[in-house]
């Protein structure tokens, strides 16, 4: 049932839209006759308001009765509203809201905010006004607005990733990935940076994982008092939230003079391990304490020692969750620039190599030399001025994003796979 009031409002809106449609037809006709009579800014501002209006109207019409509008209608109207905002935004000189402050930065910002505010207030009012039970309307409104607030960051994520893919995919080819830069031959390649990043990650993992998992085992299996757990938890938290540039500074004053006095791969590995450690401790502790106590008591009852129980029962049953945590952590440190910038990297170095053709077939010399790394490569392109080598930067960004997302995707897949398979 539609009430008389709602009917009246719908009629008014329909009339309003007819007027607007006639006006826009007239304008376009006038433009055909006399080009340039109206500034393009005015037209686009008008268009922006028109689109936003359509958005608001869809909502109003959908909420007229007790019919629950599908979420897609809401999304379409929001899209139109935003589209209107974008059209409006590109030609901001027509200050609709605050026309007297044209050209002033604050006024433009205020214009933009006012426009968004008016639009959202319109939707809100539409949602609240046209339903019989205001409390239910409010719930619906809140539901859609919180949904929208998840979509905004996800939209940003999708936009950033797809923009990088579009810009970067034209740069990437086999030669870009598999060779090093050779300015004499006009070649650009990021092979050393890829190898450098992998050496940093592998070194950090080798150092951090035994320590982190060991700490977690001690906390869950041996430490009897809760304050020990809390103390380690707090220190791991503090370490986790320590700014990455502070890790860099620490490496610069502590590690560099103690290793060789200049930047080395080893220093970078150690600092990244220190950044990976707290996350490994946290996720492994969680994984180990989720192992049911029956596993422990069952093994102990059979006469196994505590250490034997840990090795043969507890660790194997929590390996998937531990691996998930480590993979997510690696995804996090693979892109870190600030900590390694001062202590491990230099641009245009050759790829680190640990294998030799003669006995003993490996060498550790590369540990004590500088490396190149993907995130640092991006930063050095920025520092040298983006203009000349922006293609290289997009290509590097794409490789870096793919690498990081690969670790994240792998971690999330392992987690969801084992969560489904796990028996407890």
């Amino acid at each position: 049932m539609i009430s008389a009031r709602e009917k009246a409002i719908r009629y008014i809106m329909i009339v309003l839209w007819l007027v607007l449609a006639v006006v826009s037809l007239l304008i376009s006709g006038w433009l055909v006759v006399e080009p340039g009579a109206i500034s393009s800014e005015a037209i686009s501002a008008f268009g922006g308001i028109l689109l936003a209006g359509v958005g608001i109207t869809i909502i109003v019409f959908n909420l007229g009765d007790n019919y629950q509008p599908p979420i897609s209608h809401f999304l379409i109207s929001i899209l139109l509203l935003l589209l209107g905002g974008v059209v409006f935004l590109f030609f901001p000189d027509q200050g609709v809201a605050l026309p007297n402050l044209e050209g002033d930065i604050t006024a433009k910002l205020a214009n933009l905010l006012l426009f968004l505010l008016v639009g959202f207030a319109g939707i809100w009012a539409g949602l609240l006004f046209f339903r019989e039970n205001p409390a239910q309307n409010r719930e619906l409104a809140v539901k859609y607005f919180t949904w929208l607030s998840v979509l905004i960051p996800l939209g940003v994520l999708v936009f950033f990733v797809s923009y990088t893919i579009i810009e970067g995919s034209s740069v990437i080819n086999w030669q870009f990935i598999s060779s090093s830069t050779n300015l004499m031959m006009g070649k650009v390649g990021i092979f050393p940076a890829i190898m450098g990043t992998f050496s940093l990650i592998i070194g950090a993992t080798v150092l951090a994982v035994p320590l982190g998992v060991g700490a977690a085992v001690f906390l869950t299996e041996y430490a009897k008092r809760t304050w020990i757990r809390q103390a380690v938890g707090v220190t791991a938290d503090c370490l986790w939230s320590t700014p990455s540039i502070v890790f860099g500074l620490f490496g610069y004053v502590f590690l560099v003079p103690r290793i060789t006095g200049h930047s080395t791969l080893l220093a970078g590995q150690i600092i990244l391990a220190a950044m990976l450690l707290p996350l490994t401790i946290a996720t492994s502790t969680e994984a180990l304490s989720s192992v049911p106590d029956e596993f422990r008591s069952g093994s102990l009852a059979l006469g196994a020692s505590r250490w034997w129980t840990i090795r043969k029962v507890i660790l194997p049953s929590s390996v998937p969750s531990i691996i998930t945590g480590i993979l997510l952590g690696i995804g996090r440190i693979a892109g870190e620039t600030a900590p390694i910038m001062l202590i491990a990297v230099a641009s245009n170095t050759s790829a680190p190599s640990f294998l030799t053709s003669s006995f003993p077939y490996f060498q550790l010399g590369s540990l004590f030399r500088e490396v190149d790394a993907l995130p640092y490569r991006m930063y050095s392109i920025y520092k040298a001025g983006v203009g000349g080598s922006i293609d290289e930067a997009w290509g590097t960004a794409l490789v870096l994003i793919v690498l990081v997302l690969m670790f994240y995707g792998l971690g999330i897949t392992v987690r969801s796979y084992y969560r489904r398979r796990r028996g407890w």
């Binding site: 949904w147 940003v156 503090c238 939230s241 320590t242 995804g331 870096l400």
Partner: protein, 343 residues
Amino acid sequence: MINDQLKEKISPRFLLASVVFISFSVLFTFFVLFQTFNVYLFLLVVAGVVIGWIFYEDSTAKALLFAASTSAGTILILIASFLFIRGLPAFQEDPIFFIIGSEWDVYGEVYSLGPMIWGSIIVTLGATALAAPLGVSSAIFIGKFAPKWLRGILKPAIELLAGIPSVVYGFLGFVLLNRAIMDYFDISNLGQYFAPSIILGFMALPTIASVAEDAIDAVPTHLEKGALALGVTKWQAIKEVTLPSASSGITAALILGIGRAMGETMAVTMMIGHKTAFPSPLYDIFEPGETLTSLIASQIGEASGQSIDALMGAGLLLFFVVLALSVTSRLIQSRLQRRFRQG
């Protein structure tokens, strides 16, 4: 009799453990204090551990695990003490001028952090203004409104937002956002406070969203169900029951998000414009500026002598502010957990 007890205590296991412990302590102390690494002591420690593993596997494992559990604390103490030792000289001469003075001039050798602290505050406030409402309301949607299958998609998707490296955020922001803002607002400078605070907002959002969601999740459902049984709508139950109970957890999330935004380095460094002076007027967010993190990142490479001291002072300040924020957040969280465990 006393002799017998002593004999029992000084077992080979005890001797081995003390040899390993003492030699490791000496090795570590010399490494930290005198910058020397004694290979023979290191080999002694390794040999001791191997012998212990062969003869007393259980207790050696326990000892090694205990050592591992002290690693995080050791690193934190090392970071704090080295920053303290190296950063303190900058504060010693004139601490008040160093913190609130308005000049940072490398050539004139005048160092004060006022503009950078102000810049950090502006950028962090801007980022929080964006991330706090979006983050908390996404947490409400994911925790309360989303169906289960959607939740399984949205949570990792928000996690991915935190996974994009900050240097990529900085590059994208510099190429896309800085230029767009410059064109839109007709300003002459590329870098300003405004652009990085938007990007930082999106970088801090996942932290806020996931911690706030945990807090909302931790509220026992029987509270909300009780309210629903009285006939209120779901949103009324969330607003009147769940959110007030989760409020301290949400506060913890916001504090953690603020700490993340304040410590973020590369994105800010690439977008801010590097001008080590106060903006005029003070609230002008479209001027180029500098924050504590971007100051360190952009100047440490070329720094020497006195300016290294000043940068270390900046690092010390940053470290302790962020540390205080994260400890506060942790305390609030653990108090919340305790309350719900008892109730």
